[in-house]
């Protein structure tokens, strides 16, 4: 599983971070950082929840 964020769409709402803090982190500079671009499968439910929660649909998961 590979996580791709479209940073042209991302508005740093940080809902991804609320759902999968292991993978997504919005820092104090208000930018999103992807901590693991290829997270383990055990995180899939969380990453999928993060992708669904994003108000800008900026997160895609590629297998």
């Amino acid at each position: 599983m590979r996580v791709i964020v479209d940073f042209d769409l991302c508005e740093s709402n940080a809902l991804c971070m609320a759902n999968a803090p292991e993978v997504f982190e919005v820092r104090d500079d208000d930018f999103l950082y992807v901590l693991q671009e290829e997270p383990p499968d055990s995180l899939r439910p969380k990453v999928e929840a993060a992708a669904r929660a994003c108000p800008k649909a900026a997160i895609t998961i590629v297998d």
């Binding site: 208000d30 929660a53 108000p55």
Partner: protein
């Protein structure tokens, strides 16, 4: 079809009709298709546009930083790929929820095995301003384009009067200030956003307007908007609006304000007129059970859906007008339809909304009540960046951040778990 079979959920080879082609409706249609529905899938909407996203309208579209087409959520090729038949510019005028028959404006009738109602809401207008084209609202793409054109036509210094300092009004004021307009915001309550975030935070947010040179006037209402060629009694001697302008805005204080453009943001009404003869229960929205069913094989989602929400010992009938809730409800309404009424899980979101105004992002998780206790847990109103918590009855109810997205999200798991006020206010924030 018998009641027993509807309990088993939508037949995967049947016909599903989603009425309302904005966010909730689109998400419902996408979810039906993504989660196993193979039959005919129609998405019916009264606007001519393909499904589009509304939050950018008061910001990027009004400001002109985005071309309008950028707000489209699903273009034809995406809809085709999902085999969603989008019928744009086709309003529904009636529903028979027992036979699941939907009558459209042109008189045609759609028969369905499952229906999602997602016709949204429409902005309230100021009585007596019908026909005055310079008195507008902002809900649709066409509204945003019309407002932008009108402001640009007047040029810099355009006098914009915004009625209502809610989220739409505040964002429009912020964007118009950025377009070099002279903006006045009128609010009947003591602070902006008081029903949404309470007066304490509302007072803190009021300072944003002044920082951008926008005049905010609270505790004032509008009694009339007189067009430029309207009655002259009481009209000030100077500053008369030109022909084509909105005219004079008359305040409850007796004052007259000259306005080139008026934007009204005083809330919305659920679009339920077409359901009045349906037999469905309507009460400021479509009344649904905890799984979003308004009737067997009929669910509702989005701004018009009022559902029975039980959590943390509360049992409420709620209708929420947030983007995020509409998106999640669309998904949930589709899943409920697929699962059937007996097996569908309860819809239990952590509500979220955000607002971008004056270069600042306001984010709210949960459901603040103006009567809640408020505690700042990070930053302060003076600093302009902070996290504030809302509590009642010993429980955390909501969290609000201004310019603090990361720290806000630390509270989402607590809200989802129904954390105590004590636990929330003592959470360490790095």
């Amino acid at each position: 079809m018998s009641a027993d079979s509807t309990d088993e959920g939508l037949p995967t080879d049947g016909t599903a009709v989603v009425v309302g082609a904005s966010l909730a409706g689109l998400r419902a249609a996408e979810t039906l298709r993504a989660e196993g529905f193979e039959g005919r899938l129609l998405l019916v909407g009264d606007e001519l546009h393909l499904p589009y996203d509304r939050p950018p309208l008061s910001k990027q579209v009004l400001a002109g930083t985005w071309p309008p087409e950028r707000v489209v959520l699903a273009d034809r090729s995406k809809l085709d790929a999902m085999r969603i038949e989008a019928m744009c510019g086709q309003g529904a005028i009636a529903l028979d929820p027992v036979g699941r028959r939907i009558t459209l404006e042109d008189g045609s009738v759609l028969e369905a095995d499952g229906v999602v109602i997602a016709t949204g809401a429409s902005p309230r207008r100021l009585p007596g301003t019908e026909g005055n084209e310079a008195v507008g609202v902002l809900r649709t793409l066409d509204d945003a384009a019309a407002l932008r054109a009108r402001v640009l036509a007047h040029g810099p210094g355009c006098r914009v009067v915004v009625v209502g300092a809610g989220f739409i009004g505040s964002e429009v004021a912020s964007t118009c200030a950025g377009l070099d307009c002279k903006v006045t915001v009128l609010e009947a309550m003591p602070t902006p956003l008081a029903p949404a975030v309470g007066e304490q935070i509302g007072a803190a947010l009021a300072t944003l307007h002044a920082s951008a040179g926008v005049e905010l006037r609270t505790r004032v209402g509008v009694t009339a908007v007189h067009p430029p060629d309207g009655p002259a009694d009481g009209q000030p001697a100077e500053g008369a609006p030109a022909p084509g302008a909105a005219g004079w805005v008359v305040l409850t204080s007796g004052e007259w304000l000259a306005a080139d453009v008026v934007v009204v943001g005083i809330g919305v009404r659920p679009n339920t007129a077409w359901l009045e003869d349906s037999g469905l229960e309507l009460a400021d929205g479509v009344v649904c059970d905890g799984s979003l069913f308004a009737a067997d094989a009929v669910t509702a989602a989005g701004d018009l859906a009022r559902w029975r929400w039980r959590r943390d010992g509360l049992d409420e009938s709620v209708r929420i007008e947030h983007w995020q809730v509409a998106a999640e409800m669309g998904v949930a309404a589709a899943r409920s339809l697929l699962a059937g009424r007996r097996r569908a899980p309860a819809f239990d979101p952590v509500p979220y909304f955000w607002s971008d105004q004056y270069g600042v992002r306001i984010q709210v998780l949960g459901r603040p009540d103006p009567a809640d206790e408020v505690a700042f847990v990070d930053g302060s109103a003076e600093e302009g960046r902070y996290v504030a918590l809302y509590g009642r009855q010993g429980r955390l109810r909501a969290a609000l951040a201004v310019g603090r997205p990361r720290k806000l999200m630390a509270f989402r798991p607590l809200l989802a778990a129904g954390a105590s006020w004590q636990e929330a206010t003592s959470l360490p924030l790095d």
